[in-house]
């Protein structure tokens, strides 16, 4: 199979510098020009289904703790989780329900879930505080297709829809099965956050690093190195479709795997759902956009740190949060149905157990990669055609770092949108 994704993306073929992965100065630029400017994923609307529900999310690179609340009107709002008295965090847990008032645990200042300061304890001892001016600070917050995003720039003028642009149009309307119920795999890694982005941006490593866990699901004799089936580029965002082995079967000796999947008619081992429950998902125009019979999943990368992956058997997400230059927080969420029987619970336990092993294969690896790059022995990495997302991501970073505003960065990133480049070759593997 010959493809021309790299060329179609308007990219060169030269080796690329490792500096962005190991430089503190570069990390500071990422903070100011990316994380303080772009729209950032916070979760799903189903994470706070009822009025009075809330979640708290950390954006460590910006020292931000964000409180997201569901108003009586149904609207979702976001605030800095910082008390107007002496700056403590007002909410100390990570989620809760049916709570319309928050009392700061330090000295009991009390806020509504609309951010208003309602009461000051021992108010008469203060010196004329204007309560109207002491609410929680609002953070820009918007929802797209059930996904909640925030923007930390108080001066931000770009809407979430404008920011997602043609990527938003491409993905809009996907019916997400089990969006209300997820199992999370969380880990803290000693590596630069971009190693994690890269780890989940290509399939070249799958038959090698994951040879036992999912190698046989993503490759076969016709495509032994898991070449991509498709790639789409949308400003800073991008999307690829991965090959799937249609003939995958559990090995003879995998008796527990067979038992776990015996009650399932499913798409492949990455299926959390029965096939019939994902028919709508699979028929969406942008899920397996080439409608290839040898497809496993799409990786949809929403800049800067969110992957929204869709497979025949369901969907999952990766959030990758920088903490320091060389440490990161990783969160993967699998959206899975509620098991109703022991057999269903057994299948789900097997499904998540396998994925935890797969993810750990990647996670142990990113720390090794960081160590190798931080040694400053090598200065460049050499990328191939099917690592196009990594090459393009670094170019998008460059555009952001050279821009004074989000608007300018978005304009610079439109150099090779899917709308304006020739369709990549789609022949099947020979």
């Amino acid at each position: 199979m010959r493809t021309n994704f790299t060329q179609a993306a308007g990219l060169g073929t030269e080796p690329l510098s490792f500096e962005p992965y190991r430089s503190q100065a570069y990390f500071e630029l990422e903070r100011e020009k990316i994380f303080r400017r772009t729209w950032l994923i916070m979760g799903r609307v189903e994470d706070l289904p009822n009025a009075g529900d809330y979640i708290v999310k950390e954006v460590e690179i910006c020292n931000a703790s964000i409180l997201i609340t569901r108003q009586a009107s149904g609207a979702v709002r976001a605030f800095h989780n910082i008390c107007s008295h002496r700056g403590n965090q007002v909410v100390w847990d990570s989620k809760g329900s049916r709570k319309t008032m928050f009392r700061c645990p330090y000295h009991n200042w009390t806020y509504g879930n609309d951010g208003k300061l309602l009461a000051i304890s021992d108010e008469k001892m203060f010196f004329g505080v204007d309560k109207k001016k002491c609410g929680l600070d609002t953070v820009h917050c918007d929802v797209w297709d059930g996904w909640i995003f925030i923007n930390l720039n108080p001066e931000n003028r770009m809407t979430l829809r404008e920011y997602l642009g043609s990527m938003g149009n491409f993905l809009s309307g996907i019916p997400y099965p089990n969006a209300h119920r997820s199992i999370k795999i969380q880990a803290h890694l000693k590596c630069n956050w971009k190693f994690l982005i890269d780890a989940f941006s290509e399939a070249y490593h799958i038959p090698v690093l994951h040879s036992k866990t999912i190698g046989p699901t993503f490759s076969n004799k016709s495509n032994p190195l898991a070449h991509l089936q498709n790639a789409e580029f949308f400003g800073p965002h991008q999307s690829i479709s991965l090959f799937g082995n249609p003939d995958y079967k559990p090995e003879e000796a995998a008796l527990v795997e067979k038992l776990a999947y015996s009650g399932m008619v499913s798409e492949n081992v990455l299926a959390a759902n029965q096939s019939e429950d994902t028919a709508d998902l699979r028929s969406h125009r942008s899920v397996n956009p080439g409608k290839s019979p040898t497809w496993s999943m799409d990786i949809n990368e929403i800049f800067p740190n969110f992957h929204l992956d869709v497979a025949g058997g369901g969907f999952w997400t990766h959030e990758i949060w920088p903490i320091t230059q060389d440490s990161s927080r990783y969160e993967m969420r699998f959206f899975v149905p509620e098991p109703k029987t022991v057999r269903e619970a057994f299948h789900q336990e097997h499904y998540i157990a396998r994925l935890a092993d797969v993810v750990l294969e990647d996670l142990a690896n990113v720390e090794r990669t960081h160590k190798g790059v931080a040694a400053r022995v090598k200065n460049e990495m050499v990328l191939q055609e099917h690592e196009v997302l990594i090459r393009r991501m670094l170019k998008v970073h460059e555009e952001f770092e050279q821009s004074e505003t989000l608007e300018e960065a978005m304009k610079r990133c439109a150099w090779a949108d899917s709308d304006t480049v020739p369709e990549p070759a789609l022949e099947n593997c020979a």
Binding site: E251, A254, P339, T341, V342, R343, E349
Partner: protein, 120 residues
């Protein structure tokens, strides 16, 4: 982290007919996916295999027996039997996939946590 499944005094460890797998209850019948994953990782491959070999031939019978009970409200012996079944899924990753107790060349203990909204 030390996980142990305890049997209240006067209660059977497992429903009648499953006496042969009772020795595995205290280590493997723990509540929670994260805990069961921990148990699989925090022991030797021989121990995982011993449990796998004993549990595999009983798994189908166990699930048949458990089908008559509500998943989220099982009596103690049934709940412990269910957790043994679920642990078999964890153990199978070691025996059927990795050929070792854990992912090879990954650190242990690790920072991986499985966070679920309900604990089975």
């Amino acid at each position: 982290m030390r996980n142990v499944a305890t049997v209240p005094p006067g209660e059977r460890a497992l429903p009648a007919g499953f006496e042969d797998i009772e020795p595995f209850v205290s280590y493997w019948a723990v509540a929670g996916q994260n805990e069961r994953r921990y148990q699989r990782c925090d022991t030797t491959f021989d121990e995982v295999r011993r449990f796998y070999d004993a549990m595999l031939p009983r798994a189908d019978d166990a699930m048949k027996h458990l089908a008559d009970f509500p998943l989220r409200d099982m009596p103690g012996p049934e709940a412990r039997l269910m957790r043994l079944v679920l642990s078999l899924a964890q153990a199978s990753m070691a025996v059927e996939v990795q050929g070792g107790a854990r992912v090879p060349n990954a650190p242990w203990p690790d920072t991986v946590r499985i966070l679920t909204e309900e604990t089975l």
